[in-house]
Amino acid sequence: MVCKRIIPCLDVKDGRTVKGVRFEELRDAGDAVELGARYAREGADELVYLDISATREGRNTFTRLVTEISRRIDIPFTVGGGIASLQDAARLLEAGADKVSINSAALRTPSLIDEIAGHFGNQFVVVAIDAREVDGRWTAATHGGSRLTGRGLFEWAREAEKRGAGEILFTSMDHDGTKAGYPCGTYRKLCGELHIPVIASGGAGTVDHIADVLTEGGADAALAASIFHYGEITIPVLKQALSERGIAIRTI
């Protein structure tokens, strides 16, 4: 049986991880490769690196970093942030990324999904959807949730699957950063409408939250950032707890 995946997400700016990562044994917590390697050793199932650089130099630095990650890390990793064209995706594939995550560019130009999947396979394309609930309707948003689009979460996710997305990464902007848990019912509905895996992101504060979204919510994977970076929950403790709840988890 395929295991549920635990995925730490690292934000990278100008080649360095941001957010207050504190690990005493790491000489340099800003070293994105070291930090990823540490998570891999601890049992992370995949990694996501998000480039939040705003400059061209920052993007170039990130591409070099992707090569270094590919050289050092022996688990799959996804890269995202600012991917707006087939060329961007090709550059990151060439650098060694296993998957790319596309978000607002796919909303602007949905055919980008077909294009990248057509060239590099469905498995290479993760479509990330940020959405919030407005008047009872889950609506896709951009710019950190501040700009609503006209697209409904479910119909957009179905279209993304049809166009060739290999996975959907759904973040509820109403829950992100709250540490109050995930909207499990929404994940359950989303999973029921799709055939491809769904990654849950945003809202985890406790082990129970993650367990709930993987069971009640039906999600295939849980992605989190700060709870891991700040050491609030460590991956071995999380995996042990999930395993004790009878959830299929990879142990190392």
């Binding site: 395929v2 199932d45 469905n122 295939d220």
Partner: protein, 194 residues
């Protein structure tokens, strides 16, 4: 010398990096028949569409070269599927090394693609030697090789399928050992010591 077959089958960089990490020695990425014939081990990677990969292997003449090899050959993912008898992907004949049919997963109660870590079970399988159960490996695929006389290890996604195929000097893994952490590194080492 280890040769990694260079053909139109997606990204081979991660395989090269994995070989570098385990200290595999001299590795050459090549489509030169002479290099493939003189290599101690040959790895056939593959990502994407098996029918496209087969078309490329046949057009370039690499198919014939691969079939003539007598030293250990390892096909990975689509690189394994092209060595099977036939694939539903594009409805084309494979190279016929493994006596197995490649079929599409039906998304009936399971997610397709089969993506993520799954357990691999194969008692006595040479590639799994030295690993203790449960062995987890990383998969990304929508097509699978059915269970066959050449099946050396099994995984289950809705139904059981071939995780590892083995026939003569040919081995194949449906999973990606190059992305399967320390267990994957051990599997690659085991192949190199065949």
């Amino acid at each position: 010398m280890i040769a990694v077959v260079d053909y139109e089958a997606g990204n081979v960089r991660s395989v090269l990096h994995a070989l570098e990490r385990i200290g595999a020695g001299e590795v050459r990425l090549s489509a030169d028949p002479e290099i493939l014939r003189s290599a101690d081990k040959v790895i056939l990677p593959g990502v994407g569409d098996a029918s496209v990969a087969l078309e490329s292997l046949r057009r370039s003449g690499l198919a014939e070269v691969l079939l003539s090899l007598t030293r250990p050959v390892l096909g990975i993912c689509v690189g394994m599927q092209v060595l099977c008898r036939h694939t539903e992907e594009g409805d084309v004949d494979g190279l016929g090394v493994f006596d197995a049919e490649v079929k599409r997963f039906i998304p009936d109660g399971i997610k397709v693609p089969h993506m993520g870590w799954n357990t691999v079970e194969g008692k006595g399988c040479a590639l799994l030697e030295g690993l203790t159960d449960p062995v987890f490996a990383y998969y990304v695929h929508s097509f699978y090789a059915e269970i066959s006389p050449d099946t050396a290890a099994v995984s289950v996604h809705g139904i059981p399928f071939s995780a590892i195929l083995q026939h003569g000097n040919f081995s194949g893994t449906q999973f990606h050992p190059e992305k399967s952490g320390p267990a994957g590194a051990k599997i690659l080492q085991n192949f190199l010591s065949l």
